[in-house]
């Protein structure tokens, strides 16, 4: 019965055409930069079969950080970092600017969520033993990210310049001052002088907006690169953990039992 080609083949030919068209700019980009290949490698790389929901904590932390970065940049459009105007600009953002309350609220609560997820992620990595060879460097990078994130919280806390901001910062800076030998000098540097004042606020603003985020972006980038390069580790309780010990091969006196290969998602059958 010679009828029109079955619908699936027609759809398939249309799909092929769409793919062809989309590929034109992608191929142009790939030939001149290699970026497309990099993205493809990142997206379609293999991860262990038993990767589970615990492994999402890392990317959740990254999402929280990106929310902070995004809302932070928007807030910077309206915030004024001087003692006389900071408080008023915060009030302005909260009450007058369209959806300013939402952006400010997201930034403030995003900070707490970020810290919580950070600790949860750290705990997950610790309990999974995923800091052992070859991921020691990744763990160290992560531990360096932790105090930077806490410092972001500390420097950001001063910016609204209300009572709780001012006094928590007084205590925090003096805390640094109690460190032996260099403590007083460090406190002096953070304060920008003998007393907390306009220099302190500007300094904290620069730290919070430029220096610390720069360092964080760099370290997080390194952290992600190492994750992709070294691979994600399997949960330790898993029976099919990647890299598990293989049982010693049986001496071939018993007829050679062959383990059947399981069906694996994402791979065509027969490979």
């Amino acid at each position: 019965m010679a009828v029109a080609p079955p619908p699936t083949r027609r759809r398939k030919r249309r799909m092929d055409k769409v793919v062809e068209v989309v590929n034109i700019p992608l191929n142009w980009l790939e030939e001149r930069s290699g970026i497309v290949g990099g993205v493809k490698y990142f997206l379609f790389r293999r991860v262990p079969r038993d990767t589970n929901w615990f492994h999402t904590l890392g990317s959740a932390t990254l999402t929280a950080f990106l929310v902070q970065a995004g809302t932070g940049v928007i807030l910077a459009f309206y915030y004024q970092p001087t003692p006389d105007e900071a408080y008023e600009s915060i009030r302005h953002i909260t009450h007058d600017v369209t959806l300013g309350w939402l952006v400010r609220g997201m930034h403030r609560w995003g900070a707490s969520v970020f810290i919580i997820l950070l600790f949860l992620h750290m705990g997950r990595v610790f309990l999974f033993g995923a800091y052992k060879y070859p991921r020691e460097l990744n763990w160290i990078v992560g531990v360096l990210i932790l105090p930077l994130a806490l410092l972001m919280g500390f420097t950001g806390y001063l910016l609204p310049w209300d009572q709780t901001a001012y006094w928590a910062t007084v205590v925090g800076i003096n805390l640094n001052g109690t460190g032996p030998l260099v403590g007083p000098l460090l406190a002096q540097f953070l304060r920008g002088g003998d007393e907390i004042g306009a220099e302190t606020l500007t300094r904290f603003y620069a730290l919070h907006m430029l220096l610390l985020p720069g360092a964080l972006f760099a370290l997080i980038g390194l952290h992600l690169y190492l994750v992709v390069r070294l691979g994600v580790s399997s949960p330790p309780w898993s029976d099919e953990a990647a890299g598990r010990e293989r049982p010693e091969p049986e001496p071939s006196g018993d007829g050679g039992l062959v383990r059947p290969r399981a069906r694996v998602p994402g791979r065509p059958r027969g490979e």
Partner: protein
């Protein structure tokens, strides 16, 4: 400055890269002639290794450029925090506002040009005259544990507060009856001479030196106190250079804090 540095870096980088690619480098990497030919060694044209010279110069100049850019920038970031701050006297108003043996909580602007951010508080008690000279106990309200605002342990009469205009800065005097001073942060407590009686503070409360100018009480400069013996006009005060909160002034732990920011000019 940065642009000049970048241009210099780029020029030298280009020269170095070109030299690395050139055939001369490959020749210089060949094995040296045997040591048994001193005549050849002396006449050898490549004795002065241009390669090494260029590499060293590049690194050296790179270092110079980095220093020329970085040192002023770092100096700019760090040094202003250490410039000496001269305290201008703070006028707290006529001496008559401070009746003998009564405490007043005085808030004032330490630096009127800086505005409200420089508002500070002291507890002032007049101890009468000693040898014809008025004697005052002036205690700072910053806790010497970590800098929290210390509160007077006693009733305050806010309704009897007086204000005094010193230029464009307002000084407010509130009568208080402290039996001690306490800090709300971590449980520090001090007696009426500022000595520590409980909690983590590491020394007595800081005090201010004062002067009487034209019948007005003037605060001169703050200083740190180790311990105070005696009371009021008879107080023996162990005075030290002003230090930050949490820093011991005496005892073994004082060795942890040998350098103070005020030691820099």
């Amino acid at each position: 400055m940065i642009v000049v540095g970048v241009i210099i870096t780029l020029i030298f980088a280009f020269l170095w890269a070109r030299d690395v690619m050139s055939p001369r480098r490959k020749r210089a990497a060949e094995p040296e002639p045997e040591p048994g030919h001193p005549a050849v060694a002396e006449a050898e044209p490549e004795r002065y290794d241009r390669n090494a010279f260029l590499e060293l110069t590049t690194l050296g100049l790179g270092g110079v450029i980095t220093a020329v850019v970085a040192l002023p920038v770092i100096g700019f970031a760090v040094l202003p925090a250490f410039t000496r701050q001269e305290y201008e006297g703070v006028d707290l108003g006529p001496l008559d506002n401070f009746p003998e043996n009564e405490w007043r909580e005085a808030t004032f602007l330490l630096e009127p040009s800086a505005g409200e951010v420089s508002r500070r508080t002291v507890f002032v008690r007049s101890n009468g005259d000693v040898d014809g000279v008025p004697n005052m106990t002036i205690i700072s309200n910053r806790c010497v544990h970590l800098g929290c605002p210390v509160q007077a342990g006693g009733p305050r009469e806010d309704q009897d507060a007086e204000t005094f205009q010193a230029g464009d800065a307002e000084v407010r005097l509130t009568p208080v009856q402290p039996a001690n001073f306490s800090c709300p942060c971590h449980g520090g407590a001090y007696d009426t001479e500022g000595n520590r009686i409980a909690g983590p503070p590491v020394r007595a409360l800081d005090r201010w030196t004062f002067a009487i100018e034209g019948g007005n009480l003037t605060l001169v400069a703050p200083y740190s106190v180790g311990e105070v013996e005696g009371e009021g006009a008879n107080a023996q005060i162990e005075a030290y250079q002003l230090q930050g909160p949490g820093e011991h002034v005496d005892g073994l732990s004082a060795f942890l804090y040998p350098i103070q920011a005020q030691d820099f000019e």
